[in-house]
């Protein structure tokens, strides 16, 4: 098992800069998820780690050795592809055995390794089937089996669950997390699904426009997003953003005014702001309280999704700012009505004009969360 260090990696295809100056240190046995919207460069970064693409600048360091110029096999990585990349003409057994046959191991060795992998992945009864006869989840497991038998230092996953249906995806998430625990291996996992990132990762790297926006634990990203982008990307439903302006700056207390003549005093580190600055407030749907004890906003409800346990409510506040709240499953709200909503001041996020987050002083501390 191994640590992985990405040293100022850049990549461009012709004139298009895909990755710029990526710097990430991934610890031994860590499960790291690269998450970001399509085109953010996360898959390219994974392919650079794998050795399928060559970085335009920077180097890939595994266990202290620069492997940038080495073949994937010499790097000691294995990769699971989004399409699984199973060989349709070979049986499950031969698919899993493929990397071993390349290494020219004896039939006996191959058999014992394949059997062992099949056992771990519950494929023992499927070994003589062709991939075409398997369900999506089983194909996924064959692909994982093929990477396990190599006994690599680092496992790479390129959106491995995106071809599965929602229920199966949930199951496979748990299985992968379990596998990570059993193998005690370093894993790098690419996805665009922030739920996969939140549930499986030890640490998440949020990528945007070829740059790392933030690298941290899931709860760190949730409670202390470094930027508006991360705040909007992590968390479901997405965070609400409301424009506001600064009316007062004190030590760790920011006074803001919002449309609709609402004034708030927020406990954030605001030494970089001045009175009159335009800012944006962020508030997560799940932090919003229906009929708050203090004053709040008028929410014009346009749509309510009843999920049973929660009522996801969509509407607008103030000057047609889109707004979403997650309330109790039986909350008394109706589409078309207007209702008063609010939130505790400690739950607000504040972003300056560049989209950078201000440190929240009363949010759960990292030491406590982790």
């Amino acid at each position: 098992m191994a640590s992985l260090y990405l040293q100022s990696i850049s990549k461009s295809f012709g004139d298009t800069q895909v990755l710029s100056d990526i710097e990430l240190a991934i610890d031994d046995k860590e499960f790291v998820v690269f998450v970001g919207p399509s085109g953010c460069g996360k898959s390219t970064l994974l392919r650079i780690i794998a050795g399928l693409e060559i970085a335009s600048a920077g180097s890939v360091v595994i266990d202290g050795n620069d492997v940038s110029k080495l073949h994937p096999v010499e790097r000691g990585i294995s990769m699971v592809f989004q399409s699984y990349a199973l060989y349709p003409h070979l049986t499950v057994y031969e698919n899993i055995a493929f990397p071993l046959r390349v290494q020219k191991l004896s039939n006996k060795e191959i058999e014992s390794k394949v059997k062992q992998a099949a056992e771990v992945l519950q494929l023992t009864t499927r070994l003589q089937h062709k991939p075409g006869q398997l369900s999506g989840g089983q194909r996924q497991r064959v692909a994982i089996g093929r990477s396990i038998v190599r006994n690599p230092k680092i496992f790479l996953f390129d959106e491995p669950l995106s071809n599965l249906d929602a229920a199966l995806r949930g199951d496979m998430r748990v299985e992968l997390a379990q596998l990570h625990k059993d193998l005690a291996a370093t894993m790098v996992y690419v996805t665009h699904d922030q739920i996969e990132a939140m549930t499986m990762a030890d640490r998440i790297a949020v990528l945007n426009n070829g740059q790392v926006e933030q690298f941290g634990t899931p709860m760190e990203l949730y409670h202390h997003p470094a930027s508006k982008f991360v705040a909007g990307f992590i968390g479901q439903p997405n965070m609400n953003f409301i424009p506001a302006s600064v009316v007062g700056v004190a030590s760790n207390l920011l006074s803001v005014s919002l449309a609709g003549n609402v004034q708030l005093s927020l406990p954030v580190n605001c030494e970089t702001l001045a009175v009159g600055d335009a800012i944006e407030l962020g508030i997560r749907p799940e932090d919003i309280i229906l009929n708050p004890p203090s004053d709040g906003f008028e929410l014009n409800v346009s749509f309510v999704e009843r999920l049973g346990g929660a009522s996801i409510t969509y509407g607008t506040v103030a000057d047609n700012v889109r707004f979403c709240g997650a309330f109790d499953g039986n909350a008394a709200i109706q589409a078309g009505s207007t209702t008063l909503v609010g939130a505790d001041v400690k739950d607000f996020h504040v972003f300056d004009e560049q989209g950078r987050a201000l440190r929240r002083m009363l949010a759960p501390e990292l030491a406590v969360i982790v």
Binding site: P72, A85, Y87, P88, L90, V102, G132, Q133, R146
Partner: protein, 303 residues
């Protein structure tokens, strides 16, 4: 319910009758241009039809063929011809497809440059080859002499062996481009992921070709094998333009023999018997191919 009620009201014809009506033109067409000539050929093969008329002779034509040493030589020559020509087309096609599939600059141009042998009319191409093979003026004999391989003019089409192989070379030249393009198309259909996965597992180029490319394009290889076998078996223009089946029948395949008998010598009955033999042989060949294909699909297919 409402929908079916409406469609029933509107159509006077039953669904089956309508289906028959739709395929009727094609059926009629096939009956007239395929089925009728085929049946007529079979009927003719039991007669001694020539310009002067025809009368029923029973199986005499076939008995003559079976007892003729010349004819059995023609049959085995045809299979030689087919075997070597098809093999060369497949091998060269595979090599060509691999080269064209390589990610090099100007690959579009290379792909276009493969086409001419197939695009220009066979007759024109063969006349070009006729000049190449010419002993006194041909470039091949000229180069041979320059290099010292030949010590004088050499007429490639004048000797039994060289004529046979010269005809094969020309036939391969005509037939390879299409095989190449089919293989190329099949290769491009192989998902890149498979190669990348194998590359990551350390598989060499040759290993990837052997264990991914070949199995993945195998159905196309088998199909092209059958198609080009049939075309080569029945390939007439190349041989006729180059040698007219000569010298001393060295390049006379079944189709050339049939033409000579039926058309050149007006022995329609005997020619028809030969044509029927061709149909039977090719049918057997196709049947064999279908069996092999079924077996291969079971073994190499995805199910």
């Amino acid at each position: 319910m409402a929908k079916t009620a409406i469609s029933q009201q509107k159509s006077a014809l039953s669904e089956t009758a309508f289906a028959w009506l739709l395929i009727a033109p094609a059926m009629l067409f096939i009956l007239v241009i395929v089925a009728w000539p085929l049946l007529e050929t079979i009927r003719l093969s039991f007669t001694d039809a020539n310009l002067g008329g025809e009368s029923y002779v029973g199986t005499k034509n076939y008995e003559d063929l079976l007892s003729s040493r010349k004819f059995s030589q023609t049959v085995s020559r045809t299979f030689y011809w087919m075997f070597f020509s098809v093999m060369l087309k497949l091998i060269l096609g595979l090599i060509g497809a691999c080269l064209l599939n390589a990610n090099v600059k100007g690959k579009g141009l290379f792909r276009v440059l493969v086409m001419p042998p197939w695009v220009i009319p066979v007759a024109i191409g063969c006349i070009g080859w006729l000049w190449l093979y010419n002993g006194h003026f041909g470039i091949l004999a000229g180069i041979g002499q320059r290099l010292g391989i030949l010590d004088g003019p050499f007429e490639f089409l004048a000797y039994k062996n060289s004529a046979f192989w010269s005809a094969i070379v020309t036939d391969v030249w005509v037939g390879t481009p299409m095989v190449t393009l089919f293989f190329l198309a099949a290769m491009q259909g192989v998902p890149v992921d498979l190669y990348e996965a194998a590359y990551i597992d350390g598989a060499s180029r040759w290993y990837r070709f052997r264990r991914i490319t070949i199995p993945q394009i195998f159905p196309v290889i088998v199909s092209m094998m059958l198609l080009s076998a049939i075309w080569t078996f029945n390939s007439f223009e190349v041989i006729w333009i180059l040698t007219e089946g000569g010298p001393r029948s060295a390049t006379t395949t079944l189709i050339v023999d049939t033409y000579k008998t039926a058309i050149a010598n007006f022995k329609f009955g005997k020619g028809a018997a030969r044509a029927v033999v061709i149909v039977v042989l090719l049918s057997l060949f196709s049947l064999f191919y279908l069996l092999v294909l079924g077996w291969l699909n079971k073994r190499m297919g995805s199910k």
